[in-house]
């Protein structure tokens, strides 16, 4: 992927992730102020931010998870804008971004398992964060490993692989909540 297109991807994904993290932070504060508050994304028993946000997993590190998103996605979006502005970032910068992306992608998959198999609910903003984190990880990794024949061969099918990855997650959600989705019809 030309670095300019990667710049666009980081800008858009970073901004979307930032918006989601921001909303989740604000909702968390409202929920703390008023335990009876019903988050805007609590739509039905399955799509329910409330049950996610009040879970133990929502404060894994002793503070609300979206605070990580507020910082992390700001870095992603800023990097994207810098690239679009024509900055030539040194290798160490990209490796730093890579480290963050790896931690992020591991974390969202852990959250996925917790959300789907432990808590048994989904939160729309969180799912948005999962998608953009995976996309950022995927494209930053391809960029950093670029130049090797194997990586370039894989990179030729960049969006196919990303789509397959996301569809696996969709399928897991579909299977786990199948009975529920059916009742919505």
């Amino acid at each position: 992927m030309p670095v300019r297109r990667l710049g666009w991807l980081l800008t858009v994904a970073g901004t979307l992730g930032l918006v989601a993290a921001f909303v989740l932070t604000v909702e968390k504060i409202r929920l703390l102020q008023d335990p009876a508050y019903r988050p805007t994304c609590s739509i039905n028993p399955i799509l329910s931010c409330g049950s996610i946000m009040t879970s133990d997993q929502a404060d894994v590190f002793g503070f609300p998870n979206p605070l990580l998103g507020l910082v992390g996605f700001t870095v992603v979006a800023t990097t994207g804008v810098a690239v679009l502005a024509g900055a030539l970032l040194p290798r160490w910068w990209w490796l730093g971004l890579q480290a963050g992306a790896v931690l992020g992608v591991v974390f969202v998959h852990w959250l996925f398992v917790q959300s789907v198999y432990r808590i048994g609910a989904l939160c729309p903003y969180c799912m948005g964060v999962w998608v953009v984190t995976i996309a950022v990880f995927w494209y930053v990794t391809l960029h950093n490993l670029g130049g090797r024949p194997i990586v370039d061969a894989v990179a030729r099918f960049h969006s196919t692989i990303l789509t397959a990855w996301l569809l696996v997650l969709v399928a897991l959600i579909g299977v786990e909540f199948w009975d529920f989705w059916r009742t919505l019809l």
């Binding site: 399955i46 049950s51 529920f180 009742t183 019809l185």
Partner: protein, 255 residues
């Protein structure tokens, strides 16, 4: 990825063919590729289309797989079993209203006051039967049904039924078990708690709830609340006015 020409380049190439061979364009790539020649894009689209088709197939197979059959008539045994909970019994059972419900379902909670009003108004004229239909999306639906069944073992089904709907907002939509909350209600209702605790998780209690659910599924119940009036499924939303009209029509037809 770098193989994909930018659209702008493609257009330039198209309008100015001689430039394609110009050395300034970098290594020769052969003829410019159109979007449908982009293997990655086409594979991605194929994947998404395949996923949608798979989903559709599952839905259709799942829908036709369950061989639900609507009730054969007002006396279809699947509607009211001998052990089904009749909250009111009319002389002659001329009009029988059967509700498949889930104590955690919000629309059941919304229909509950209308049903109660109707039962009061038509006391002695209609038979009202409650069948369990706990939905899998509700964490405490099964617990609540078992609590009601345990209360029924001590002839307090109606009291528990009322209690569960009156308190639905307090425990509904939680992701954790409220079995203890329900035990608290049982205690408030003055039930024998030793018996309640044994009954609430007893295998035959679970089986009793499951039998109701199996009957419902068999009759084509897909969501809750589903009402059957004299064997006919009510399609209108269960507002007081709709329920009253259906009952009035059935009474007029029967007399």
């Amino acid at each position: 990825m770098t193989k994909k020409a930018k659209p702008r380049t493609t257009r330039q190439t198209f309008t100015a063919p001689p430039r394609r061979t110009s050395p300034a364009r970098g290594p020769a790539r052969g003829p410019a590729r159109r979007w449908w020649q982009n293997g990655n894009l086409m594979l991605t689209v194929t994947l998404v289309v395949a996923a949608v088709i798979a989903l559709g197939t599952f839905l259709v197979v799942d829908g036709t797989g369950s061989e639900a059959e609507p009730p054969a008539g007002a006396t279809d045994p699947r509607l009211v079993r001998a052990d089904s909970h009749r909250l009111d019994v009319a002389a002659g059972e001329l009009v029988t209203l059967v509700e498949f419900l889930d104590f955690e379902c919000e629309s059941c909670g919304a229909a509950y006051p209308s049903v109660e009003r109707l039962r009061k108004e038509y006391a002695g004229k209609i038979t009202y039967v409650v069948r369990y239909f706990p939905l899998p999306g509700h964490t405490n639906a099964q617990n609540a049904a078992q609590a009601a069944e345990a209360a029924a073992r001590q002839d307090r089904f109606e009291a528990m039924y009322t209690k569960l709907f009156d308190t639905q907002k307090e425990w509904g939509e939680a992701r954790t078990s409220h079995a203890d909350t329900f035990a608290g209600y049982a205690e408030q209702l003055g039930l024998d708690m030793t018996r309640y605790r044994a009954d609430v998780t007893a295998p035959d209690t679970v089986a009793r709830v499951n039998r109701d659910k199996a009957d419902g599924t068999d009759l084509g119940v897909q969501g809750t609340p589903t009402f059957f009036l004299n064997g006919r499924q009510l399609q209108a939303s269960p507002t007081y006015a709709n329920l009253k009209k259906a009952v009035d029509d059935a009474l007029a037809a029967g007399s």
